[in-house]
Symmetry: C2
Subunit: 341 residues, 2 copies
DNA sequence: GTGAAAGCGCTAACAC
DNA sequence: GTGTTAGCGCTTTCAC
């Protein structure tokens, strides 16, 4: 392992000082073109690799972004990471990822590690059990901007990138109504989370706007799993009349479809089904599942842009921004009666 | 933004020197218990957060691992990341992820950025177009261990975590033979990649071991896409006789199924189909698609363990290790004739 | 068991 | 346009 070249080595070779080399490498305006070119040449010749660690220590900040997700190997989150990384790379930043596994203590540890690493910013989608936010406030107190995405909270005054879940819920429900559905089931989830609450609100408002009376028995809490959909159809819903299902989870929607098919119900003729998230599997199942696209990659890009906007604005860091992306209905066979005619 | 506490502050408060504080925090054996406890107490009181950047500069290495994947939002790769991160976190390391987008130049840039960030190690799955390896050799020259996973090459003497693709190909093919298939199609891909080559080799050997003559017309190169499977069935295969398909990609397998169903062929009665990778959608399609599981999360863990083994061994870094995971057949309806009887 | 002192590699006043 | 100087916060060798 050969000794690494530093700006000292370049300086010595060119008989200038390290400061000049540093300035030349950073394209400082007051350095002559000749010097810059000479420095570049020698740097290349000596195979120089700038030491970001030293630079970071001196400048007091790294070019690292810390990103926390519940689990990285979920389609939605991995796409968000993709989006963040794309923007970050362009700006010369790198992205550290860490998983909270929906565990508050682990989330705390991860944030602490990020602070120790002196990341320039923290991106996070809150875990299900995150009901305390001290670790985020601590980060802010230390001057590290927070950007929340998807699962956010009003308890933290931070920049936020979300989709319009309310609108997603509204559009999905209205779509079912337009297909002729009058008794629409809604699979929802824990109301502590902004996203499920908003989708439910969209569902309720769509019903109201179309003069459909709410049957509270058709609003069914579940845990986002495939099995919950099967269960619901076979148990809670077995004696109810319904002609549409709007599920806040694609998995639960698929479970319902499986159970309905097993009962000999035809989809979408007897029951229209629409999910939420546009999980990769939805286009491949039988029948293809209608859903709502959340544009996770765009959400990641938006989140990254909020961060850069925040640090590039000359105001102090307490100014936060918000981006709300519009979701999109993906209409497939599971809810499309009109194409049948 | 309040001034950050340093070990100096702790030292001053306790009337000891920074050296002692540093030692205490790092649990140095020659520091008394009393001192350690006092230091801990004051550190907590002053809300001390160790500056990893300073520590890294001094020690000459960070606790960062650089991880390159073609695209992070692919089920396989995101699971590998999950595995690496799990192990890394336990060891007090963080994981930087970057995407090459299958672009050699971007892969080079990313590796360079990792070196500038002074990562402790680099994990990579090679891009399709990675035919030069200078950037990896450069990293090794600088004393940064490389761990390759999944898509590897013999051109780099590095630690490697892979699955036994040969065995996967063999098992999949043999499974079809056991189902009574005699004329088995194989969708393969670019032979520059170790993984597709090995799976093909497994296919060929399985045929040979079961005394089935190879029909080279049944080995069809494709680009891993769903459309390739549809195309193949409708064109190249339209005049061929075959009763089984082993596809090196789940997507292409699904495409073939779609095309076969459209032609009124029944699966698995007329044609058995098996894919490769156990993509999340495979269990949900109709019929559920048999496939080969690659245990990506385990692969990530194995890769991380190889890295730690390498740096913890007292020998120099040129000793490399290899882990080969065994793949597992996932038999579902698309290739399961025996359950039908 | 603790202190003194040096330095990791870089940047940014301040000087001229 | 370039040099001088100091220091970011930590670790570690050498003392005693």
């Amino acid at each position: 392992m050969n000794k690494k070249t530093t700006i000292q080595d370049i300086a010595r070779e060119l008989k200038v000082t390290p400061s000049t080399v540093s300035r030349a490498l950073n394209d400082h305006p007051r350095i002559s073109r000749d010097t810059k070119e000479a420095v570049q040449r020698v740097a290349t010749k000596l195979n120089y690799s700038p030491n970001y660690v030293a630079s970071a220590l001196r400048k007091g900040t790294t070019q690292l972004l810390g990103l926390v997700v519940p689990r990285i190997n979920r389609a939605f989150f991995s796409s968000v990471v993709r989006g963040v990384e794309e923007i970050a790379l362009n700006k010369g930043y790198s992205v550290i990822v860490a998983q909270s596994n929906e565990d508050l203590n682990r989330e705390r540890d991860v944030i602490k590690a990020f602070l120790n690493a002196r990341v320039a910013g923290i991106f996070s989608s809150l875990g299900k059990n995150t009901t305390q936010f001290d670790h985020y406030l601590e980060a802010q107190k230390r001057g590290v901007p927070i950007v929340l995405f998807d699962r956010t909270t009003t308890a933290i005054d931070a920049s936020k990138a979300v989709i319009d879940d309310y609108m997603g819920g509204y559009m999905a429900t209205e779509h079912l109504i337009n297909q002729g559905c009058q008794r629409i089931v809604h699979f929802t989830s824990h109301q502590a989370s902004n996203i499920y609450k908003e989708r439910l609100r969209g569902y309720l408002d769509a019903l109201k706007d179309h003069n459909i009376d709410l049957d509270e028995g058709l609003v069914i809490p579940c845990d986002l799993q495939l099995e919950d959909g099967i269960d619901a159809v076979n148990n809670v819903l077995s004696k109810k009349k319904y002609d549409g299902i709007f599920s806040t989870s694609d998995y639960t929607a698929l479970g319902a479809i499986k159970a309905l098919k097993a009962k000999g119900k035809s989809i979408p003729e007897e029951v229209c089904v629409i999910g939420f998230s546009n999980e990769p599997f939805t286009e491949f199942v039988e029948p293809p599942l209608s859903t709502v696209d959340q544009f996770p990659e765009d959400m990641g890009k938006a989140a990254a842009e909020l961060f850069f906007k925040q640090i590039e604005s000359d105001s102090d860091l307490s100014t936060t921004y918000k981006t709300m992306l519009q979701p999109q209905l993906i209409i497939r066979k599971s809810s499309n009666r009109l194409d049948l005619k």
